[in-house]
Symmetry: C2
Subunit: 242 residues, 2 copies
């Protein structure tokens, strides 16, 4: 991991850009931290530049409660090289949605599974690097979309102790099955009136998670209208990461 930029935000939070091999990322650490801070990995749908305003707001809310936060660019997003297969799957998805057709499992698999397969090891490598910094301690939480990435991480990465998952993206059948194996505490956010989201699928997925300590928070406000009081998950992470 190599730091490429550093700035102090208004509230004292230290924001540092980094690269991990070819992967760009951002680390935010609280302005005043006496001990190594617990870490929240900020998931997002890809495109760090575009997502930056929302990510920095989430990071600053987390830092206010003493959490460090970090994110990395997703494969084939932002400034990273594109994948022809991913672009084709995305075009097929768009065609199905525009035609008002149901989206084939096959399209969802082509779109999401390669992303999960590539992104999860990258998140784990980022975790290795971040946890080697003296200012970062455990435990670690994952917060955000892509929910399929969150599910796989929750199953395979024992250093992740709790996850706040944003319902809404497409979930391949195989990850539905993996959801049964999730045993860490979960909070699932669902935008109830998000027309682009399959509400029943989100409720079924919540039901499927194997953990006994799961909470669903459904709110109004449309796809991007997650209320500010929900978005950071600070109370949830304070219960499980401190």
């Amino acid at each position: 991991m190599r730091f490429t930029s550093e700035q102090r935000l208004d509230d004292g939070v230290l924001e540092r850009g980094f690269t991990l091999g070819e992967i760009p990322g951002i680390l935010w650490t609280p302005g005043s931290a006496s001990a190594p801070a617990p870490l929240i990995l900020l998931g997002h749908p890809g495109g760090l530049h575009k997502m930056y305003p929302r990510l920095v707001a989430r990071a600053q809310h987390s830092a206010a409660e003493g959490f460090a936060a970090a994110t990395i660019e997703l494969p084939w997003s932002g400034d990273r090289p594109r994948s022809a297969a991913a672009q084709e799957a995305r075009a097929d998805l768009r065609r199905a949605l525009e035609a008002g057709e149901p989206v084939d499992d096959e399209i969802v698999d082509r779109l999401v599974l390669p992303l999960v397969e590539k992104a999860v090891p990258e998140w784990r490598a980022a975790l290795d690097a971040l946890l080697s910094l003296p200012e970062i301690g455990g435990p670690v939480g994952y917060a955000g979309g892509v929910i399929a990435i969150g599910i796989r991480l929750a199953v395979v990465e024992p250093r992740i102790s709790a996850a706040l998952l944003f319902a809404g993206s497409f979930v391949p059948r195989i990850l539905f099955e993996e959801a049964r194996q999730v045993t860490i505490p979960l909070q699932v956010l669902l935008q109830w009136d998000d027309e682009g989201n399959d509400r029943q699928m989100a409720l079924d997925l919540f039901d499927t998670f194997g953990t006994k300590e799961k909470t669903l928070h459904a709110n109004m406000g449309g796809h991007t209208g997650v209320p500010q009081f929900e978005g950071d998950g600070n109370r949830f992470f304070a219960r499980h990461l401190k």
Copy 2:
């Protein structure tokens, strides 16, 4: 309203028993209140003695955030006179449940509608009396079951500014219709794994509420296992009553 008892709890909260005509009730006020406190009405399924441990815990959590809390006995519960019609409806309900039969709308109507018709004016009379006390100010919230009572109160009582409703009791069709008229902020608690609860009905009811500012919190833990971090609704009421 006549105060009948008074005690100071460990945390300084003042607990006073009262009667309003023939109706017993309890009022809790924060130990240190500089200004009139906003008030939370604590709904419950009836039986103040039996419910006392849970009610006092909720009241103490609310008082810690500066809220007063109050409750009254439901009609035909606790030490109040019984209703033959209500006992008959309850027996019919029990028979249907024990036989594993679907519960007729007609039984639900006989069980719940007279309760709503009688309890709601009593809650409003209690509100008149409570708001006349110098230590109680507005605004007012309603928290708890019976959800049908909460719906009617939210529709007819303009002094109630926000409601935290516990899903789980039977809801007559007519109150489903009234739910469309609810426009105050709502938080609905649903115990996801409560076998005695019709989960789909609770989700349908949440969908029906007319208010744009509604949040559903679903948790595990069975019928009586509402997690402590949910039960008081302090964050919700802090947003809407302060």
